[in-house]
Symmetry: none
Subunit: 186 residues, 4 copies
C-alpha cells in the first residue's frame, strides 16, 4: 500500500518525528534509521528523497521546534507591558517549557550544540526578543546600565541549563527570574 502525501506535509511529518528522536536520543543518536522507525516510514530513502542531506533535515527540524516554542511564547507574552513582569514571565515560561514541551526544547539545544552553522538562526531565537525588551527597559529607566547582549545571552544560557535540575522546576524558575531581576533592575 503506497500512501501519497504532499511534499510539504511529508517534510513536516518527518521533521516532527526528528524533533522527538533528537530530544530522546541526542543529536548523535538521531540517525535516519531511528527517525524512520519512529515516524513509521518504510525506509530511510524517504528522508533522502525529501531532504537534500542531513543538514537540510536538521535545519527543518530546528525550525519546526523553534516555531512550536515561539508560538506559545507569543500567546503568553502578548499584552504584557511592564518590563519587569515581562522579564519574569519570559524566564518562567521558558523554564516551564522544559515540562510542557521537553522534546522541542531539547531538540533545539541538541541541534544548536552540534550544528555551529545554524548559529544565526538560533541566536535570533535565543536572544533576539530578549535583547529588544532589555533595550526598551533601559530606555524607560526600569533597567540599569549593562551590556544587553551579554545579559540576554546569559539569561538564555541560564534557562537552557535549567534542564536536568533535580529540584522543583517552578521553584527553580522563580529563583532564576529573581536572580536576573535583581541584577537588571537598577
Amino acid at each position: 500500500m503506497q500512501v501519497t502525501v504532499t511534499e510539504a506535509a511529508r517534510r513536516q511529518q518527518i521533521a516532527e518525528a526528528a524533533v522527538e528522536v533528537v530530544a530522546r536520543h541526542g543529536f548523535a543518536g538521531a540517525s535516519f534509521a531511528k527517525i524512520v522507525e519512529h515516524a513509521g516510514l518504510s525506509s530511510t530513502r524517504l528522508i533522502s528523497y525529501h531532504f537534500r542531506d542531513k543538514s537540510d533535515l536538521m535545519m527543518t527540524t530546528l525550525i519546526s521546534a523553534i516555531s512550536a516554542v515561539d508560538d506559545r511564547m507569543n500567546e503568553r507574552l502578548d499584552g504584557t507591558t511592564d518590563r519587569v513582569d515581562m522579564l519574569r514571565s519570559y524566564i518562567e515560561f521558558l523554564v516551564g517549557m522544559l515540562t510542557t514541551h521537553p522534546d522541542q526544547v531539547r531538540a533545539i539545544r541538541e541541534i544548536g550544540a552540534n550544528m555551529p552553522e545554524f548559529a544565526p538562526v538560533l541566536r535570533d531565537f535565543r536572544t533576539g526578543r530578549l535583547e529588544r525588551q532589555l533595550v526598551q527597559g533601559q530606555r524607560e529607566g526600569v533597567f540599569g546600565e549593562f551590556d544587553v547582549r551579554v545579559v540576554a545571552r546569559t539569561i538564555a544560557n541560564g534557562v537552557d541549563g535549567a534542564d536536568g535540575a533535580d529540584t522543583d522546576v517552578d521553584a527553580y524558575a522563580r529563583e532564576l527570574a529573581d536572580l536576573f531581576i535583581r541584577s537588571c533592575v537598577g
Copy 2:
C-alpha cells in the same frame, strides 16, 4: 619499530591527545582513529590496550582536562579572601580559560554533554567550589538571600555559554562578573 613506554605515561599521552580531538571535532567526532592519528601512535589497538573501553578513555580524558583547569584555578584564587573579589576572579578566570585553554574547556563541555553517567564528576567541578564560596559569603553577610545551588549553576551555565561570543572576551568576562555581583551583593 616498537616503542615502549610506561603504562601511566601512555594513558596520559593518549588522554591529552583525546582532549584536543574532542575539543576540535566534538564528542561524536572523537574516534579512536582520530585520536591515534593526532597522538602519532601506531594503531587504535594501543587505545584498546590501555583503556577498558571508550567510556574509560573518556572518563580519563575528562579528568585530565578538569585537572588542568583546576590546577590553574587554584594558583589564581589562592590567597583571595574577599568574597566579591573571589566571585569576580572566578568568573573572569574561567571565561579567560576559553582563550588560554580552549581545548580543555571544550572537551569538558563536550564530554559532559554526551556522557550523562559522568554527571557527578562534572557537577562537582562546575559548581562545587562555587557553592561553598557563595554559602560563606551569605554567612558573612556579603551576599544576600538566594538559592545557592541555582545561582552557582547559573554562573556555570553563563561561563560555559560565553564560548563563541563574538565580542571581546575580557569585556564579556567583566560584564558577566558585573551581572552576577549585582545580583548577589546586597
Copy 3:
C-alpha cells in the same frame, strides 16, 4: 557495477552460501567476509543489509539447510507404511545424507551446537517426525515399550555422530539401523 536482485532471491543466495561456509569452516569460522567471498558478492554490507544481524542470518541458514534435507526425506519416506521399514529407511537415509548433502548436514549440526536459542527449531527437525513414528509403532504393537523421547533422541545422536566414521558409509548405515531395530522391535 551495481547488480540488483529481489530481496527474497538475495536472502536465499546468501543463506545458501552460508550453508557451505558454515559446513566447511565451522560456525566460528563463518564470518561475513568468508560468506561474501564464497557467494561472490561485493561487500559484507550486503549481508547486513538483507539480514537484521548475524543471528537472523544463521536462523535463515539453518532453515535453508533443514528444508533441503526435509524435502528429500519426504520424497523418500512417502508411501512407506511398514514401521520397521520406515525406521530403517529413516536412519539409512539420514546417514546417506552425509555423503549426498554433507554441507547441509554439517551446517545444521554446527548452527545447532552454537545457537542454543534455536533449540526448538532443531529439536523438531531432529526428533519430531521420529517420535511420532515410534509412538505409532508402539500403538500397532510393532515396537516394544520404551521412552520414545530417549530413543528418538539417541537415534538422532547416532546419525549425527556417524559423520567422520572411517568405514564404508552404507555399511555403517545398515549397522546403525540394525542396532536400533533390534532394540525397538519386540
Copy 4:
C-alpha cells in the same frame, strides 16, 4: 608480588581453568583473556609463555579433562566382571558425570568438536574401553553379532547427546542403558 611456581604446576593450573571456561563459554568463547581472568592470572602472556600456542593449551586441557573422568571411571568399573552389568554401569556412570563433573564432560565435547586433529586421542577415550568390553562379551556369547565399532561409537554418541535433556537424568540414563542392552544382548 611475583608468585613463582614450577612449570608443570602452572601448566596444570591453567589447563584446569581452561576446562571450566571451555565448558561454560564454549570453545569459541574460551579466549586467553577469559581463561586468564578465570584463573586470576596477571596477563595472557602467561599462557603464551607456558604453552606453545592455543592448540597446545587445548590439547593439555583435553587431557586434563579426560584424566579426571577416566580416573573416576576406573574406580567405578573396577571389579565388575559381568558384561551386561558392565555395559549398564558404563552408560549410567557417564551420563551421571553430566551432573557430577559437567565441566569436564562439556570441555571434552567442545574441544573434540572443534579440534579435528585431536580425534585420535578422543576416539580412544570415547570408544576404546567400550570396544574391548563388547568384543569380550561377544566371545563369551553374552552379546550377539554386531559391528562393535559402530555400536561403541553409537553408545558414546548417545551418552554425549544426553546433555541438555530436560527430563530426570537418572531416568534418562536407565532408559539409555536399557536401549543398548536390548540391542546387544541377544
